[in-house]
């Protein structure tokens, strides 16, 4: 018996899963870093936003750059 059906692209799911994990991980590390050294907050913010942007960029590549079947 089929309880549920999953439709869509597996590569998008994989990219979304991994980049969500990565973004969360970056946020956790950045908060920890600011907690240890509040003086470096701006520098850490820059690094964190950059890494977040690169991590979430993956999912946009997966979404838009591959339109196959």
């Amino acid at each position: 018996m089929m309880l549920a059906e999953i439709s869509g692209n597996i590569h998008v799911a994989a990219a979304a899963f991994a980049s969500a994990l990565a973004v969360g991980w970056i946020g956790k590390s950045a908060s920890e870093a600011v907690g240890r050294n509040p003086g470096a907050a701006t520098k850490i913010l820059v690094q964190a936003i950059l890494s977040t942007a690169f991590a979430e960029g993956i999912v946009f590549f997966a979404l838009f750059l591959w339109n196959g079947k």
Partner: protein, 311 residues
């Protein structure tokens, strides 16, 4: 790329979108936001989309706000002038902290404009009326009540891929010009291909080969920057608009405003964060190619200029 097709075949666009959506098997697909901005009218050969209209409105509002607020520059700022000074000085110090005192003087105009334009277009896209006023499909033929608006007068400007790709291309051109101005052609090529670190002898030859390969990879990554920059902004804003629409439908006629409300706050945040990300990324890309700390060698790329700003 998506939108170019949409622009070329305006009337086919709706059918194409509906067809595409049907392919994904969603029942409410016709209610979703089309990926390409609908064309409203043509000026000569130039198609004008609703996203372009919103961009112009925002640009006019910005110009008017600056003209009215800071038309006569006062020594002691008051009111609107205070606000603009706070914004521009804050941005200046922020960008200066990242790319250094020397580079910021030359490039600040770009980063501040991009930030202010993106954040205002994102926030204007959240106003009531954007995406809801316009031509659409009537409930029944001849009726004035619309079941769905297919051609709104306004649409979030960055929900049009042409807009974000245009900003990214402008940055790419600026980046190339700045890189050549700061390094010269030889310095520019050296920056990408030449080995770093003070190795000698056989190690130098090996490192030269490795760094040449790294340079080739770097060129690929440089060429992908406009793509990732534009897709990131477009993806975030387009997805946000789509989500707001879906959430409004989820609540139905009576509670649509309630289910969408938390997501409006989120979209306000996304609007700033994405503008910040765009500005930060472009600033760091500029810093990476324009850093003058080559002589210090081992200093590395990342923090060369940030540290240089302090002495």
């Amino acid at each position: 790329m998506l939108s170019f097709a949409g622009l070329a075949a305006e009337h086919a666009a709706h059918a194409a979108v509906a067809h595409e959506a049907a392919g994904h098997g969603a029942e409410h697909a016709s209610e979703g936001l089309p990926t390409a901005a609908p064309v409203l009218f043509h000026v000569g050969p130039l198609p004008v989309t609703n996203s372009m209209v919103l961009t112009w409105v925002v640009a006019l509002v910005l110009v008017a706000a600056v003209k009215i607020g800071v038309g006569q520059v006062q020594l002691i700022p008051k009111g609107a002038q205070n606000f603009w000074e706070w914004l521009v000085e804050g941005l200046y110090e922020f960008v200066e902290g990242i790319i250094g005192t020397e580079l910021v003087k030359k490039t600040f105009w770009f980063f501040s404009s991009v930030f202010i334009l993106i954040v205002s277009t994102n926030w204007f896209g959240l106003l009531p009326g954007v995406g809801t006023i316009g031509r659409g499909i009537p409930v029944e033929p001849g009726s004035h009540k619309l079941s769905h608006v297919t051609e709104p007068i306004f649409r979030g400007a960055n929900a049009d891929f042409n807009m974000t790709f245009a900003i990214a291309l402008v940055f790419f051109a600026c980046w190339l010009i700045w890189a050549l101005q700061f390094n010269g052609l030889v310095g520019f090529l050296k920056h990408i291909f030449a080995p770093k670190g003070g190795t000698t002898g056989i190690m130098f030859v090996l490192m030269a080969v490795v760094f040449f390969a790294v340079g080739l990879l770097e060129i690929v990554s440089i060429l992908f920057r406009p793509v990732s920059l534009s897709f990131r902004l477009y993806g975030n804003i387009f997805a946000g608009e789509n989500m707001l629409e879906a959430m409004t439908h989820l609540g139905g006629g009576a509670f649509g405003w309630l289910t969408a409300l938390p997501f409006y706050f989120m979209e306000l945040m996304v609007g700033v964060v994405q503008a910040l990300v765009f500005m930060l990324l472009t600033a760091v890309f500029t810093l990476l190619i324009c850093s003058h700390d080559e002589e210090h060698g081992a200093e590395g790329h990342g923090h060369g200029h940030g540290a240089g700003g302090h002495h």
